[in-house]
Symmetry: C2
Subunit: 227 residues, 2 copies
């Protein structure tokens, strides 16, 4: 982190702390963004399954009243909601931008971000699937991911270059890769989405994305790296 | 709309067209933002119920591949996703800002926006409730609105002034008011959320909010203004 790029940070500031769960796609988005911007951070794992979910304990509820991950302690503040956090990082640490300069391309990035972050992920996250029930959860998740991916693929057909919008990595890519992982978990047939698959493959070997992958998290159970 | 504030607009540009449904809370957010910024626009109503939903017809699917409202034709482009649209308006028409200058307040605005737009609304929108089924839909909607409003109220307890964040109207207010309307539709007990209620009451008489209200839309059925 370059302090001259961040008026709110000083060398005496403690390193940011990311409350994260290895398999949470919302935590993963922020991990990618932090890595891309080369912001050092410590991870404080919050297990979404241990003891009925550590995110529901009183102490963590004070950190994030939505009782979910991620939350980021940075610059003396606690931030929640992955999309809000990515925008904060963009506005305080402009190095390696996550949004294009062009206003129409910015709109396209945010469009893809919102399709995924409001149109897909909220409908297939853990707390909703618990509510839907064991029996129906796979079909439910497949339904909403498929619906959303049809729209993402259509959006990408006019916006994508090497990545989601043109040839620069953006917030949209930070959101797409974790969502593809979720789609695979729920055995969604991804063959109708060749652009999504190409971009996911392209980013697989990117060091910032690789370091943020669930299997490389400190709280990933060694026996379940691909679950 | 002041053209010198918008490099992409010229006096020969056609007036923006908003694809909107009177009772859609996502359309409503954008209507408020357009009104606050005093951007003239035409409404093209898309009925979410007529003929199984006009948003699913082939013609509209080309406008919005998510098959939902709103969509905004502006500056020669078609934009979708209400949060992306509000950001586009903010970046091209900075008059009457919807985001504060201070970076931490901006994060707080976006936090509240995301709690509502990814944490509440997607779980209680029409297409999800159809999937949940007639019998369970009221309880389902109440559950997710209540969970989200607990978090919104908590966030507001440290951020609110006259409005959601301080004393200036922001994107967060554009999202809050339609969500309160939805909460009432589903008979959510709002007494535990005094700050939400106070802000909603405060904005009730604001002309930009009043003009955007479902009951003042051209496609609001005269016999059902409060349904």
């Amino acid at each position: 982190m370059s302090t001259n790029l961040c008026p709110n940070a000083s060398s005496s500031d403690p390193q940011p702390i990311l409350y994260s769960y290895w398999r949470s796609s919302c935590s993963w988005r922020v991990r990618i963004a932090m890595n891309l911007k080369e912001i050092p951070y410590d991870i404080k794992p919050i297990s979404l399954i241990k003891s009925g979910g550590e995110q529901h304990c009183n102490e963590y509820r004070e950190v994030n009243p939505m009782e979910q991950v991620p939350a980021l302690q940075i610059d003396g503040h606690t931030l929640i909601e992955s999309v809000a956090i990515m925008h904060y990082l963009e506005e305080t640490r402009p190095q390696r931008p996550l949004l294009p300069q062009d206003v129409h391309k910015r709109a396209k990035v945010r469009e893809i971000v919102e399709i995924i972050c409001s149109g897909i992920q909220p409908l297939q996250n853990l707390i909703v699937l618990i509510h839907v029930g064991e029996e129906k959860k796979k079909e439910w998740a497949q339904h909403w991911i498929t619906r959303g991916f049809r729209a993402v693929e259509k959006a990408l057909s006019t916006s994508a270059g090497k990545y989601c919008v043109g040839d620069e990595i953006s917030m949209a890519d930070c959101c797409l890769v974790p969502q593809v992982f979720n789609a695979r978990r729920f055995h969604v047939d991804l063959r109708p989405y060749p652009i999504i698959l190409r971009i996911d493959r392209e980013l697989e070997s990117n060091p910032a994305f690789r370091a943020a992958h669930p299997s490389n998290q400190p709280d990933c159970p060694p026996e379940l790296p691909n679950k």
